[in-house]
């Protein structure tokens, strides 16, 4: 996708916050996980359906929180389908590396695709945990963990 400026990035995040994609329960999910940040009240549930070879076929979510976490959950459900657990973990690592890098430092926008819209989070270190919360829940669900994931970064 073409490189977006900060205004366009923000507009996309706000759009995902207003009209979250893949929002709603997935009744035939193979795994699910609750993500909760007690410090700011953000709470999401992530639902994943897998295909025969263990790739993510469909990702959905429910719940509420701040604009950054909700948009992160929404964009995540768009990019996860087609990925294996290993590929999802690698993508999260690249995402996490970008949002924890120094502001204005270069990053692999090509490999991140739509996730690059969260580059602005680098300027607000306090918001990093908002952007990573749904991802950590999705990876824990794929890993077969039980219970819920709480925010730490």
């Amino acid at each position: 996708m073409p490189r977006m400026d900060r205004k366009e990035q923000e507009a996309l995040i706000i759009d995902h916050n207003r009209r979250p994609r893949n929002y709603g329960k997935l009744d035939d999910a193979d795994c699910r996980m609750v993500a909760f940040n007690p410090l700011c009240g953000d709470r999401y549930e992530i639902f994943l359906r897998l295909d025969d070879v263990g790739r993510i076929a469909q990702a959905n979510f429910t719940g509420d929180g701040c604009a950054v976490s909700k948009a992160a959950a929404s964009v995540m459900t768009e990019v996860l389908p087609g990925k294996t657990e290993v590929e999802a973990a690698a993508l999260f690592e690249a995402f996490r590396a970008m949002i924890t890098s120094e502001p204005d430092s270069p990053f692999d926008a090509e490999g991140l695709g739509t996730l690059a819209v969260f580059a602005g989070v680098r300027n607000f270190p306090i918001r990093i945990k908002c952007a990573t919360l749904p991802w950590r829940a999705a990876l824990a669900a794929l890993h077969g963990d039980q219970g819920e994931v709480s925010a730490v970064e």
Partner: protein, 409 residues
Amino acid sequence: MPVVPESLRDIRAQFPIFARTVHDQPLVYLDTAATSQKPARVIERLRKFYSDEYGTVRRGSYLLCQQSTAMFECARKKAASFVNAERPEEIVFLRGVTEAINLAAVSLARSILKPGDEVLVSAMEHHANIVPWQLVRDMAGIHIRVIPMNDKGELCLDAYEAMLSERVKVVALNHVANSLGTINPIKQITALAHGVGAIVLVDGAQSAPHLKIDVRDLDCDLYAVSGHKMYGPSGAGFLYGRYSLLERMAPYQGGGEMIDRVEFSESTFEDPPYRFEAGTPPIAEVIGLGEAIDFLHDIGLEAIEAWDQALLAYATARLSAIPGLRFVGEAEARSGLVAFTIDGMHPFDVASILDRKGVAVRAGHHCAQPVMRHFDVPATLRASFGVYTVPEDIDTLAAGLELARDMLS
């Protein structure tokens, strides 16, 4: 819109920080309850001390040390007069309120509290007046009980009175609640506590910058102050203690300066306040705090208090007009801040949008998670005032909140 009083008219120009911009916008600083900005005279005092006067205190026989000691002890006199203590020896210099309460909890646990004794804290305490008591609870075998509050954020005094018994040895609470702005009736609370022989410790972090403090009128036993919230440098504050109580209290930290005679088998200790000031103190910061106290006295604490109330009334009226805005903390007697939520908008998102407009407010639990649970909110937004706050700051905040609503809803 309230008119800035004569005594505060040129105050903003004395704070160099307001010359800068934030995200290309003028700085609107509404987080004085977290920490205040610094006037030029305090900054200059630090520069002068480090450039021309620096030396340690109470240890050397040379001139720099003697002068430094004199300046440090002069700050102690200023702090004593600031809270109307009977004598300067009732002032213990520390990092701030957090260290003061930790000192009080550990020292009282070592010297005065007995198993089965009770410590009362209020439902609106900062974590700094909860956790230190929990840390000594098991060592001392004490119980911590909580004075409840109502939904306006006022203490339930009837319940408090009913909790008092001879088992209660300490009542520890804030003068002004950092998450709600409530001013607690310390004089009344102290009189009731003394009726059962309890020691009263007051967390003055939020009151010292806004109200005239008179520990003799309040009749409290311990009163903790953070210098960095009252225009002084970070890293220095003090604990006022009634001298007869300080004399009964065990040391907190051990080290140089606090001892009388040291043997490998045991040591004897200095009299208060030095007993509680182990090691080299934050010398420059304490001297800077003395300058900040002069700054406050030069304006006049009555004028500061009156302006604070005018800002509070203006902010309450101005923000009430914003749809979906709900105040958290509506006590009759309040000071220094407004805390609120806005329906359908997350406090962190609002704070990020305000930041881009140059407006610094605090979003979060304000180190008062039990207060957030009481009001059933995960977090609030808090706008807090200082001597440099003008009504236009509140107008900018209100405009920023309208913008946030357009972006987020």
